[in-house]
Symmetry: C2
Subunit: 312 residues, 2 copies
């Protein structure tokens, strides 16, 4: 099946028009603006990797995508971000009150969709509800980091585990449960998803510095003073003071941004983050050893590599 | 069983401390500040009214209470209300970002709790997820009313049905499903809950004008220009112009508030709203005719009367 097409069609069908019009337009704004759909894709392939029919995992995968989008809508309000995926954020376009509500309604819709799963609905709903609460914990940690001068690597990893990796973990785990995998298989895929998510987030911060992420200005993490793994690493080196003068400077020039990147290079922080991401990818691939050979397994291997190769 | 005590203990157990501390404090703020717990009580009595063990409905009832609280937390942000239940609203105390997150986390927690129901978990989760989305629709309608000069009674009733009555409807319906009621019984209780909720909301607006609602200044609906049933009725009488001068005046004096109340009296709007609430209560009681005699049924009768007798 053409997974992306089926996922997109399902999302469109679940988010069809309703009343009041403004609320539904705000709900549709971000989910219908594209996206890689990594979480539903991961759920579907994980279902297939244990011998299940991938189609059965579509509603569950869509539920995850809706939860993902709901968190983006609310995070953008909290972080005052005005752009997302190259278009205005929901609160920028529809106002803050409607954006809060649209996020809530997407969250509710996610559980409507998830409840359509035929078997194991109780455990699947419980898992993604706990996951959603942990994502909130992760976002709260992330916000608290903004007010802290130093953040430990341990806290940072805990934060991205909750905020990002949990959802990859449950995409793979839930997909495997729907596919009827054995305990060994479902737990292996759960661990795969978690490691994949960790790599994904570290790489995401890395390409914010190095690459050209679409829909976001280059160096925005540097201007915002985001506590990334690179920053946390560099702070433990003699470059700490030099970095402190430039990092988090809202009006930093292009030259200053480049200076920060140079510092990260010289301090070995870029390599450090890169290697950390690679290590998580290797760990993820190792988990796949528990699965029988299949096309789906091959795809999971490729997905792991993609997580640390992509440039957007 | 002492229902209120059991419900409160369950809520406390479900909302025990977690990390980050600030998020959990914000989550606990409103649910642990008391409240009538009408929704869980309604779920429990409805369960008993069809011959079920009321204890089995506690997690489901708590899930509803958490959803109710989550909507209050977010509504207070949207409406810029700084007080609730006589204490500062969550965003006033913890800041807006944490309040958005605390609401989200309460919503997530509600589904964690609801997923613990042993039987019919799929349908129960679907029902309350749809209900939550409809509550969002109701809140969006309510906000849009603020910008409208005239609102039809039909639109008003549709709004309170979504924003308030749906939750009473699903409390009674879900409780009856958990109690193993027949289709006739569960549908009768569903209709009972809906009518009870309609009466409850109309009466709530009525006592805002007439009574002394705890935790809210007297006449606040008048100062905010809230489109209540009384206002909608009075707007269709010759008092319309007199009312327009005073209704929605932020800095209205006590005398001006009293003038509005006088207008509502003379225009017959107070009686109109009161009678409408009574009519919904009668409709609710009629639904109970389908149930066998029991203590629980008696209590549902009393609950219906309470909805239009209470003064806070």
């Amino acid at each position: 099946m053409d997974r992306l097409k089926e996922i997109n069609e399902a999302i469109e069908a679940y988010l069809q028009n309703g009343e009041p019009r403004k609320l539904y337009q705000a709900m549709q704004h971000l989910p219908l603006a594209g996206g890689k759909r990594l979480r539903p894709i991961l759920a579907i392939i994980s279902c297939e990797a244990v011998g299940g029919d991938g189609k059965k995992a579509i509603p569950f995968g869509v539920a995850l995508e809706l939860i993902h989008t709901f968190t983006l809508v609310h995070d953008d309000i909290m972080d005052r971000d005005e752009e997302r995926r190259g278009i205005p954020s929901v609160h920028k376009k529809f106002g803050e009150a409607t954006a809060i509500l649209a996020g809530d309604a997407l969250f509710a819709k996610a559980f409507e969709v998830a409840s359509e799963v035929k078997e194991n609905v109780g455990i699947l709903v419980k898992n993604i509800a706990t996951m959603a609460r942990e994502i909130c914990e992760g976002q709260q940690m992330d916000m608290s980091f903004e007010e802290m001068e130093e953040v430990s690597e341990e806290s940072f990893l805990k934060m991205i585990e909750k905020k990002t990796a949990k959802m990859f973990e449950h995409a793979a785990y839930g997909g495997a449960i729907i596919g009827g995998g054995s305990d060994e298989e479902t737990l292996a895929l759960r661990s795969y998803g978690r490691n994949l998510g960790m790599a994904f987030q570290i790489w995401d911060d890395y390409i914010d510095i190095m690459g050209k992420k679409i829909g976001k200005p280059v160096g925005s993490d540097i201007r915002e003073g985001k506590k990334t793994l690179m920053f946390i690493h560099a702070q433990k080196t003699p470059y700490k003071e030099k970095l402190a003068k430039l990092y988090g400077k809202k009006e930093a020039t292009k030259e200053e941004i480049n200076s920060v990147i140079e510092i990260f290079k010289e301090a070995g922080s870029l390599d450090y983050a890169k290697n950390k991401a690679f290590a998580f990818v290797n760990e993820a691939k190792k988990c796949l050893g528990k699965l029988k050979e299949s096309n789906a397994k091959e795809e999971l291997m490729k997905l792991a590599d993609f997580a640390v190769k992509r440039e957007k």
